[in-house]
Subunit: 186 residues, 2 copies
DNA sequence: GCGGTTATTTGACTTATATCAAATTCCAAT
DNA sequence: ATTGGAATTTGATATAAGTCAAATAACCGC
């Protein structure tokens, strides 16, 4: 799924807008293990994942807590830091070699001004992410660790094979020992 | 905090836009205990709370789970249902007598089209709600029941006095017995 | 392929919070 | 003020998941 296809599924893209989108984005390739943003830095960019897998995590008393995964066709950024212009508490790491499109903040703001229809794009993307997040919150609050894992597998099957156990466990809000035991019982 | 003041703190409001905002919103007063949307219905409106207190909740095995509270100066809707046009799983209830501004979906869509700068408004409001929700998710995942309650009191002090214990407990993801015990220890 | 690091599994024990049940307090309508 | 029902508190017990520690297993660079 390319960037343009993804955008076109949300708003109509004119010739002009297509050129603009092309001009304001940068192609970025990163190797497995590389960091895109470190905790404490400012977050100037949104990334669109063309291929590969990223994760966002932060430190909670020495431990890494994975906050999200982003696969092909998804956007990734330290959302809070990007929106509020505060320093990021998150670190973003490539879990695999990735091909990314980088969308710098100032370019995006110019895009919003020059093509007001892209405000809609921003709004709809944010709405979609909100709805997803809300679903996750409810799951966290009212399902057992096993149910959460089963749901993740159902919705995100292959992801489970691509990311290490400890990262998936912290994403689900459980320890890796607990996740290991859940897996052991089939 | 009036609706207009709130909007003006986010985007500049022209004479024209102000009139439009006035024309597309309806004043609605509801009495304590009244329901604005029931689970299973479609959600056609966003409400802005001029005064009073609302909550959104849904049923989880016979029990009511409070999903959010909305006070003066905040927006309220069954977000998922409003965005996706699916039927709502949430019920919205007035916890106090309320004065609301009602913003019907079709009117809002027309506003977006007629005043493209309002797309920015929609985007920014959604972004803000996303950031809030993310904070809540992290809290839920990595703090104890007591810490979550203390944070709620810190951030939302008076709310705690306005809503009944059971509703606050389910919002925090704990049972009312646990919340009662937390309160008992100061 | 070998050695060393890192990730995962397994075990024993602890703890926060849930559950079920009963007692008490609060409050609104008469 | 009195009363009945709801909300809250308190108590006893159960349980899911955490913690700490050690044993395996998987992976990576040489």
């Amino acid at each position: 799924m390319t960037f343009l296809t993804h955008i076109q599924s949300i708003i109509p893209v004119s010739e002009e807008l297509r050129d603009a989108l092309h001009n304001i984005t940068l192609i970025k390739t990163v190797k497995k293990g590389q960091l895109l943003i470190r905790a404490g830095e400012y977050c100037h960019d949104i990334y669109f994942v063309e291929s590969g897998l990223l994760r966002g995590f932060y430190y909670q008393e020495e431990k890494e807590i994975t906050n999200w995964f982003a696969r092909e066709g998804e956007f990734a950024t330290s959302f809070y830091a990007y929106i509020t212009k505060a320093t990021s508490t998150e670190t973003i790491e490539a879990l695999e070699d990735c091909e990314l499109l980088q969308l710098p903040y100032t370019n995006l703001q110019q895009l919003y001004t020059r093509f007001p229809e892209t405000e809609r794009l921003g709004r709809i993307l944010t709405e979609n992410y909100y709805v997803k997040l809300e679903g996750r919150l409810l799951g966290l609050q009212f399902t057992t660790a096993k149910e959460r894992y089963d749901n993740l597998v159902k919705q995100n099957g292959p992801l489970v094979l691509r990311a290490p156990l400890g990262q998936i466990a912290s994403y689900l809000g459980i320890t890796q020992e607990t996740l290991s035991r859940i897996r052991a019982k089939q």
